[in-house]
């Protein structure tokens, strides 16, 4: 095994839980040397897991090659290979895991399976300098309010049905909007919402620290069919209502835990309106507001590489025969020995 404390140690991380295939390279001190992403953009509809996995397999070698050339390291310099082991879509996860296993055994370096949700939290902490935050993690597949307590990240609140990003995406598709590379549905909805003026009353469902978004989505799709309101007003009302719900539960967790930092992470963290709402509650409770830079908000390999560093340097390795993907791997199932 190579010396894991030396300055020139690198972890290569592979992310493939959903529609993105991405490879990142991080030094053991947390310098991100490369973060190459190749998103799969469906022609129509949502992510078809098999089609996305096919895309990942097709682009894998090029993305890897690009990550090596961007980071200016050679394959033999890699000390450890990490990959998103779950949660996510089976075919997509398996593709990434296969690439990771092959690479690790070819290079004869250890393999580390990383929890995707934890990677989002850790990259947020790395990039913002947050130490012990209440984290609102919002993406296409997840909506989780968590905070660290006694060895693990605990889930304080989450969605009881669909994820926030999913709610935005489905509405956008129902409305016939189009996404493009570099401009996902969330950004399209955000732009339209900025032009909205009229706020329409919609179902607001907060249950304890959990939320439910499916009723809101149904109500919106019904309004859409009635064609009485402009798409701008609908997007505006959708964002205001859904974001208010996640902000309220984040504030609840903040008041409950009395932590002094709030971290916003995940793909929807790129939304400026959501940022301003979460910032407001952070200020209200004298907590520092931290938001992950947009390059690291979406699914990315860098976060997997960095979390791989944290895990590996604290004695976590995943033997190949235990590297099965975990489609439903919850955040709080993972011991995190690297957090004090």
């Amino acid at each position: 095994m190579k010396d894991k404390t030396a300055d020139g140690s690198y972890c290569l991380g592979i992310e493939s839980t959903a529609d993105d295939f991405s490879v990142g390279v991080s030094t053991f001190k947390g310098r991100i040397l490369a973060n190459i992403r190749s998103p799969y953009v469906p022609v129509e509809g949502g992510i078809h897991p098999r089609e996305a996995a096919r895309h990942h397999a097709e682009v894998a070698s090029n993305v890897l090659k690009e990550a090596f050339s961007k980071s200016k390291i050679k394959p033999k310099n890699v000390s450890v290979v990490s990959f998103s082991q779950g949660p996510g879509l089976g075919p997509c996860l398996r593709t990434g895991a296969t690439v990771a296993r092959a690479l690790a055994s070819y290079l004869n370096v250890p393999l580390v399976g990383v929890n995707h949700c934890i990677a989002h939290v850790e990259i947020g902490k790395l990039k913002t300098g947050a130490n012990d935050p209440v984290t609102l993690y919002v993406s296409g597949g997840n909506t989780i309010v968590s905070a660290f307590d006694s060895g693990r990240y605990r889930v304080f609140g989450e969605t009881l049905d669909i994820a926030l990003g999913n709610c935005l995406d489905v509405f956008a598709r129902e409305a016939g909007l189009r996404q493009a590379e570099g401009k996902p549905f969330g950004a399209v909805v955000e732009d339209l919402a900025a032009k909205g003026k009229k706020f329409l009353p919609l179902p607001y469902s907060v249950k304890g620290m959990d939320i439910s978004l499916s009723g809101l989505l149904t109500a919106l799709t019904n309004l859409l069919k009635r064609r009485e309101y402009t798409l701008e007003d609908l997007c505006y009302s959708l964002q205001e209502t859904a974001f208010s719900m996640v902000t309220e539960v984040t504030e609840r967790a903040l008041a409950h835990t009395e932590k002094k930092e709030v971290l916003l992470t995940g793909g929807v963290a790129a939304n400026k309106r959501l940022q301003s709402m979460v910032k407001a509650i952070a200020e209200e409770h004298d907590a520092r507001f931290c938001v992950v830079p947009s390059e690291f908000a979406v699914d990315n390999g860098a976060m997997v590489a960095w979390t791989g560093v944290l895990a590996y340097t604290h004695g976590v390795v995943t033997p190949v025969d235990k590297s099965f993907v975990k489609l439903r791997w919850r955040l709080e199932e993972v011991e995190v020995p690297w957090v004090e």
């Binding site: 949660p87 994820a163 706020f199 249950k207 304890g208 205001e240 439903r328 919850r330």
Partner: protein, 217 residues
């Protein structure tokens, strides 16, 4: 009247202790939230200010100790209620002996049962919303997310939240605590209803994201 003293800045409201006509009271003020649109904000604050005291009053009738309401100011979204001396169950659970913890959770389960029997859903059953008074009564507070319904789904969500709160705040003895809560709940509602609610809780858990039991289906 002495100046109100801020005792807790919650997520939803600020709690002040004040002297009100010679009584020690809690003033629960739901202050405007600037992050959300004002019409949504007013809707939420007004709704909760009206419903919370109603539910607290009905809870009392159901045999569940709650602070007595003295004044409801809908316009300013302020509720003035009795100050309960005592300790938050959240802080107690970790301090007390296992047998005392057992008894406390049993009592909590009975109280939740009494609420549900009378069609009241608390909506935020965390141990920080329960206060043990010196005369050994458990007071339930913060009914802001509550509702009136006898639906199995709502009862299930209520108990699910209780379970989740135990897991996040008291993970070391979450399982034994929830077992005791269930036992108390069964005592009040009977085995048949109790079982159907617990089955619902399991169903709700499975509905959640990334739950391993779902793999078998």
């Amino acid at each position: 009247m002495s100046r109100p003293l801020l005792i807790k800045k919650g997520a939803e409201a600020s709690l002040y202790v004040a002297d009100w006509h010679g009584r020690k009271v809690v003033m629960k003020c739901r202050l405007p939230k600037k992050y959300r649109p004002s019409s949504l904000d007013e809707r939420i604050r007004t709704y909760r200010t009206i419903h919370e005291p109603q539910l607290m009053h009905e809870a009392k009738r159901a045999g569940v100790p709650t602070p007595t309401i003295f004044l409801v100011d809908v316009k300013n979204t302020i509720i003035v209620m009795e100050f309960i001396e005592g300790k938050q169950v959240k802080r107690l659970l970790a301090e007390v002996s296992a047998s005392r913890r057992q008894l406390l959770c049993l009592k909590i389960g009975e109280l939740v049962g009494k609420l549900h029997r009378c069609g009241i859903i608390h909506g935020d059953l965390t141990t920080s919303n329960m206060i043990l008074s010196p005369d050994e009564k458990v007071f339930f507070v913060d009914f802001g997310l509550g509702e009136k319904t006898r639906e199995l789904e709502a009862r299930g969500v209520d108990l699910h939240l209780m379970k989740r709160a135990l897991q996040s705040a008291h993970f070391r003895f979450a399982a034994e605590c929830f077992d005791a809560v269930s036992k108390g709940y069964f005592r009040v509602l009977g085995c048949e209803v109790g079982k159907s609610v617990l089955d619902k809780v399991r169903e709700i858990e499975k509905r959640g994201r990334y739950v391993s039991e779902r793999r078998e289906e």
